[in-house]
Symmetry: C3
Subunit: 154 residues, 3 copies
């Protein structure tokens, strides 16, 4: 039995979910860059307030925190607190050979929850809306981790 091959539909599911979450995280970096350039603010490095193609009109006030740019950084931080754990736990989850429907529900479910979280965060929904997406995504990773431990230890 070989687990880590695209011929295994569970691993193929993981590959798709992992690649989508990779695009999500890298895209968040570009959202921050776009918001920095559009608003000309929220820079974090003293050397960035130099005149250049990125910054045609430098001003020390550009180094102050502003919500528009910082919101994208907070979204990024929340991604980093959740997605790498999904990558690691989801990967080892493949090797306990869960039912395919369960693996697909958990993995694609996680992807959907993170997209819901991102949209809620970007559009300033209430904490309750944002936290609901966070909670389900987090519980998916916790469930997979406990399932791995149960399968190996009992």
């Amino acid at each position: 039995m070989e687990y880590y091959t695209p011929d295994n539909p569970i691993f193929a599911t993981y590959m798709i979910a992992a690649a989508l979450m990779g695009l999500k995280i890298m895209g968040q970096g570009w959202m921050t860059a776009y918001r920095m350039m559009k608003s000309g603010s929220g820079l974090v490095n003293p050397e960035d307030i130099q005149k250049g193609p990125f910054n045609p009109a430098p001003d020390p006030a550009q180094l102050e925190v502003n919500d528009y740019t910082d919101r994208s950084r907070r979204m990024h931080r929340n991604d980093l607190e959740n997605i790498p754990a999904f990558w690691a736990v989801g990967l080892v989850y493949v090797a306990i050979a869960p039912p395919l429907w369960l693996a697909q529900t958990l993995m694609y479910g996680f992807v959907v929850m993170r997209l819901g979280h991102a949209v809620s965060y970007a559009t300033r929904q209430t904490h309750e809306v944002r936290a609901s997406f966070y909670t389900v995504g987090s519980l998916i990773v916790i469930f997979m981790a406990l399932h791995v431990l149960a399968a190996l230890l009992f």
Copy 2:
């Protein structure tokens, strides 16, 4: 020789360690949420100071940094600076087929060090105590990475 199967005790060790570290990181998010709700402070989003189940008595002062909540975020950041590297380096370490006792010592040792670091951080031990756990965990990842490079390049 197949490396990535639970029948390989080295990979089974990695699976357990990776799942435990997944629980650790996800649990840190819940510690932050718990501390935000218990203290009603340390919020980071302007939209979170709206009245609702999460926040029955909103107040702009809730957006100020406080050590109780921020400590959990700093613990989380320290996890993110260490655990994903363990996941990645530990995973490829499996494929150089180290002795089982060595893999178990390094991987379970890393888990113990991170738990020691978390307890030291949460209970405000001195820098020396916290840094000792950090240092051993960090050296474990560095050792595994160098071992992988040595096995493949020499």
Copy 3:
């Protein structure tokens, strides 16, 4: 066909790149520790301003943000925004069996870009220089993720 074995030169490439990036991230933690000790500033925990081997002359001003130490933390954060995505996407990229030259170009290219980014950041190059390294590294991960999705979905 087994993908995840050092006998597969594509996975061997990934193993080397993943280990090097592990050393990069762990090294960044040590750069922060070195800068904290050398400058005696940029500490983030109230309990760290206690007299001890790490901190022979405590002073509350040590808790203020300073660019020398914080720069290393910002470098670390940028690593965390990019390298774990490379680990995850690069890993599943192995299983779509790309041409070896392409895998080597992308994976070693990513390593070189991140080292270029680190040197630019540490030496305070302009945003344009730093962002160029960031951009190519980011596009490499995005390309690999899209390639995985295309290979599995079409």
